[in-house]
């Protein structure tokens, strides 16, 4: 008796779409409570300086202003401020404050908040605030920040170095490189990106002084994490805090944890006892929210004369700005995974994370991308040096399935790896041989046409520490319909559909009869929310196990009813019968009614009701996925414009629950990558002024800039 795959693997249309298509989605800005107040922040317009005076008189006198709050108003209510998994005991700390107190450390640093009857009034009052800042020389470049005598981003600290990973034993690498015939070293840089979900951050928070309860609706990736954090922050019990994640308009890592402004809003409702709402505007998003990239890596690779990799070293430097987000440093990952899906017998790595007077670093989509960017480009340099085709160089070095399991010297352990298969599939899809011939011909005509090949191994389904598990409850009601309560926190990843597909197959009912509920800490099981590419694997796994528990009970009840062996029964489209004899059977609803309404008639040992609970953790802390991207680009000789002629992705994400969703995720990721490389640049001048704080300056790709993306899938169960 196994569940049939009727919906898993199919391009099932999404359950969540109808409300979004008709304008009936409910995002946080669509929610309001009676008496809601609105917030605007006064922000620093210098990158570093002392706050010499604050005069709130005129702002407080603006009609409709309820309060003007500064650091000292909020700090007295602020308790522990570490997110789960982050604490001084673990050696992981970072600077934190709610509002700037005494000095400012980047342009956009919030200095004061106005709470008013409308956002329009709040912004008027911000203009009426009189805050004097005495500017000091900032440090913007991470290299300069590491020099002796550089200005300190955080006064009182000993240097601008936040973290350093020293790199361990380099002996094997040094030995290998000493005798290698070919050694290539080069530094590769990524510029700074902003993290730009189309819906900005937002929060509506309401403190009920009578009940002593805080209710929060917020655009987040992790409502349970926010609840735990806010309870500790306010020094109140978890049971006094409810966090609801409404519909969320994208996040891409930005909304993992409450921001300083969101914390300020919670403190404001605690002080004022009225609902308080803040919706970040786009300028705030671009100027002062968490940024990404701005990192570099110096890669040194040693190969033999045939191009076989002998050793690889990576030295990383990343800017973390003034106030980085929790877990935003990519270096614990980059220093482990930089060899990628290649046979690398000797490795060495080091990393430094450096404060600058800029907006803090966050965990934007693929935070460790610099390791792929550096490794793949240095391999291209090797290919050029040896006169080899870049694809052949990768063929020679990529780990084959026959070599599994494979352990890298960095500690990475691959039990599954199909990079070699994706390389061949992508090459075939794009017609690689033909492309090279075409390139020769076109170059002879003077056209500047290039072909890029990249392989990557991607850690996903991270399951350790606070991210170790996800939970689910599956319950079938007396009408034979199923609810799934999940700890996942989807916001565009289609979990209301994909988890329903998994559960529908397990229960043998139609996917339209499964409803997935998420995001309300009063109802959903606890879990870390979205992060580390986990939801389909871990939350999906929990939902499947909970559904299996319900299925097993349904089968036991039906077997008793039908006087059949449980092993002979199947559930097809909500009907339970002996395999092959659908004429005689019972429905899921029949079984459910019996389970709830006739508990005394259940088989011995069967508890009443039809509810299953499960908490899932994968067998390993990381589940590896991998992919190959190949593209053909042309540079316009006159204008420098880069056009993408072809773009092929071959990937292995395991079993595809819904190919539409998989391809949608790939396309979204590729286009954010195209945007980052060709259009998006969160630029600062030397004085620390952000130069790209509107969509007129921070350019996002539109439909006219992106190519047709072609997909190949390798499915490893």
């Amino acid at each position: 008796m196994t569940a049939g795959a009727r919906f898993v693997g199919q391009r099932v249309a999404r359950r969540e779409d109808a409300r979004f298509l008709t304008g009936r989605g409910q995002y946080v800005d669509d929610l309001t409570l009676p008496g809601t107040l609105h917030v605007a922040f006064a922000r620093s317009d210098v990158a570093r300086g002392r706050i010499t005076s604050v005069d709130t008189t005129a702002a407080a006198a603006v009609p409709g202003v309820v309060a003007v709050l500064v650091a000292s108003d909020l700090d007295r209510l602020t308790g522990e401020h570490f997110v789960d998994g982050e604490s001084p005991d673990l050696g992981y700390t970072r600077p934190f404050c709610v509002l700037a107190d005494g000095d400012v450390r980047f342009v956009g640093d919030p200095m004061a908040m106005v709470v008013a009857e409308s956002r329009y009034i709040a912004e008027d009052a911000v203009d009426a605030l009189d805050i004097v800042v005495d500017p000091e020389d900032p440090v913007i470049d991470p290299g300069r920040a590491l020099e002796d005598g550089a200005p300190l981003v955080h006064p009182g600290s000993s240097s601008n170095l936040l973290y350093e990973l020293p790199g361990g034993d380099t002996g094997p690498f040094d030995d290998a490189i000493a005798s290698a015939p070919v050694v290539v070293t080069e530094t590769f840089r990524q510029h700074r990106y902003a993290t730009v979900p189309l819906e900005t951050r937002g929060i509506l928070a309401s403190w009920d002084p009578g009940a002593g309860e805080l209710s929060v609706w917020t655009s987040t990736q992790g409502p349970h994490g926010a609840r735990l954090y806010l309870a500790r922050l306010l020094g109140i019990d978890d049971s006094q805090v409810r966090v609801v994640m409404p519909d969320v308009g994208g996040s891409f890592g930005l909304k993992m944890h409450p921001s300083r402004e969101e914390i300020a809003v919670v403190l404001a409702t605690r002080i004022l006892g009225r609902p308080v709402k803040w919706i970040q505007d786009r300028r705030e998003n671009l100027m002062s929210d968490h940024h990404a990239r701005e990192d570099d890596v110096t890669m040194t690779v040693a190969v033999d004369d045939e191009g076989t990799i002998l050793a690889l070293k990576a030295e990383f430097v990343e800017s973390c700005g003034a106030y980085p987000a929790a877990f935003s440093s990519a270096t614990p990952f980059t220093t482990m995974i930089f060899p990628g899906p290649y046979r690398v017998p000797a490795c060495a790595a080091s990393a430094r994370t450096v404060h600058t007077n800029t907006a803090g670093r966050g965990s934007y989509r693929g935070p460790w991308m610099i390791e792929t960017v550096g490794r793949e480009q240095v391999l291209d340099r090797v290919a050029a040096r040896l006169g080899m085709d870049p694809l052949d160089l990768r063929r020679r070095n990529v780990i084959g399935e026959h070599e599994l399991p494979y352990a890298l010297p960095t500690g990475v352990f691959y039990d599954q790896m199909t990079a070699a298969a994706t390389l061949e599939q992508a090459a075939e899809l794009i017609g690689y041989e033909h492309l090279r011939e075409q390139q020769k011909a076109w170059r002879a005509e003077g056209r500047l046409v290039g072909i890029g090949v990249s392989l990557l191994a991607e850690p996903s389904a991270m399951a350790f520490g606070w991210m170790a598990t996800d939970g689910a409850t599956v319950r079938i009601g007396p009408n034979g319909r199923a609810d799934v309560l999940t700890s996942a926190a989807g916001h565009g990843q289609s979990l209301e559909t994909t988890i329903a597909q998994v559960v529908a197959d397990e229960l043998g009912i139609d996917v339209s009869h499964v409803r997935v509920l998420q995001g309300d800490t009063d109802a959903a099981p606890t879990g870390p929310g979205t992060g580390g590419s986990r939801s389909a694997v871990i939350a999906g796994g929990a939902a499947q196990q909970a559904a299996l528990e319900v299925r097993t009970r349904m089968i036991a009840i039906a077997a008793n009813e039908l006087e059949a062996s449980p092993g002979d029964l199947e559930i097809v489209d909500g009907h339970i019968h002996v395999v092959g004899t659908p004429a005689r059977g019972v429905t899921v609803a029949d079984v459910a009614r019996k389970a709830y309404y006739e508990p005394s008639n259940l088989p011995a040992g069967q508890a009443p009701g039809l509810e299953g609970h499960a908490r899932y953790t994968p067998g390993s802390p990381v589940t590896w996925s991998n992919a190959c991207h190949i593209c053909q680009v042309e540079v316009d000789r006159e204008t420098g414009k880069v056009g993408i002629l072809r773009y092929v992705v071959s990937e292995d994400c395991g079993v595809m629950i819904n190919p539409n969703v998989v391809e949608g995720q790939i396309a979204g990721g590729v286009v954010q990558g195209i945007g980052g490389v060709l259009y998006e640049h969160m630029a600062y001048d030397d004085a620390g002024n952000p130069l790209t704080t509107t969509f007129m300056d921070y350019l996002l790709p539109t439909a006219t800039e992106v190519p047709v993306i072609e997909y190949g899938h390798i499915e490893t169960p």
């Binding site: 391009r11 249309a13 999404r14 969540e16 779409d17 109808a18 409300r19 979004f20 298509l21 008709t22 304008g23 009936r24 989605g25 409910q26 995002y27 800005d29 669509d30 009609p63 329009y120 009034i121 008027d124 730009v196 979900p197 189309l198 819906e199 900005t200 519909d247 969320v248 308009g249 994208g250 891409f252 919706i279 505007d281 786009r282 916001h491 565009g492 990843q493 289609s494 539409n660 969703v661 391809e663 949608g664 790939i666 396309a667 979204g668 990721g669 590729v670 286009v671 954010q672 509107t694 969509f695 007129m696 996002l700 539109t702 439909a703 006219t704 992106v706 047709v708 993306i709």
Partner: protein, 157 residues
């Protein structure tokens, strides 16, 4: 702050009348005074297209207009493009079929823009589709499903 001004317009076939500050945007008027929250604000400076509505049939950015500028106008929002029986319009249905949305935040703006676009050009080429979509930003889909949805819808209109 100037005194509130009376404004009257037709929104999704219904006459709406309100007292608003002259500086109140059409988008805020629709969201706050008409409780039509399907019109979203993604940038408030006229680039992202999430707030697109039809004003006298033309696709406009509701964040760049004051409510008072729409005085006497006929406004259609995404809610007004949705069939009253609770179903989906052919364009909405095509977006669903082609996986033309993920988080859904940009979606109302696309639905409104595409409605005007296909009305004016019922059989566009792929290049024309992409050009027609270039005033709306999406961060989730990479536009692949959206382009496919418009092509699908153009065959059905």
């Amino acid at each position: 702050m100037a005194d509130p001004t009376a404004v009257t317009m037709t929104v999704n076939g219904q006459q709406r009348r309100a007292l608003v500050e002259p500086r109140k945007t059409l988008a805020d008027f629709l969201r706050e005074d008409c409780a039509l929250t399907g019109t979203h604000l993604g940038c408030e400076h006229g680039v992202c297209g999430a707030c697109t509505v039809l004003l006298d049939g033309e696709a406009v950015r509701a964040c760049l207009l004051f409510a008072v500028q729409a005085e006497g106008g006929d406004v259609t929002t995404v809610e007004g493009l949705t069939p009253p029986d609770g179903g989906l319009s052919p364009i909405q249905e095509a977006f669903r079929e082609a996986h033309g949305l993920q988080c859904g935040f940009c979606t109302p703006g696309f639905i409104v823009s595409v409605t005007a676009f296909l009305r004016d050009n019922p059989s566009p080429t792929d290049d024309e589709i992409r050009e027609g979509l270039s005033g709306n930003l999406c961060r989730c889909t990479g536009y692949q499903g959206i382009v496919n949805a418009v092509r699908l819808a153009s065959g059905r209109e």
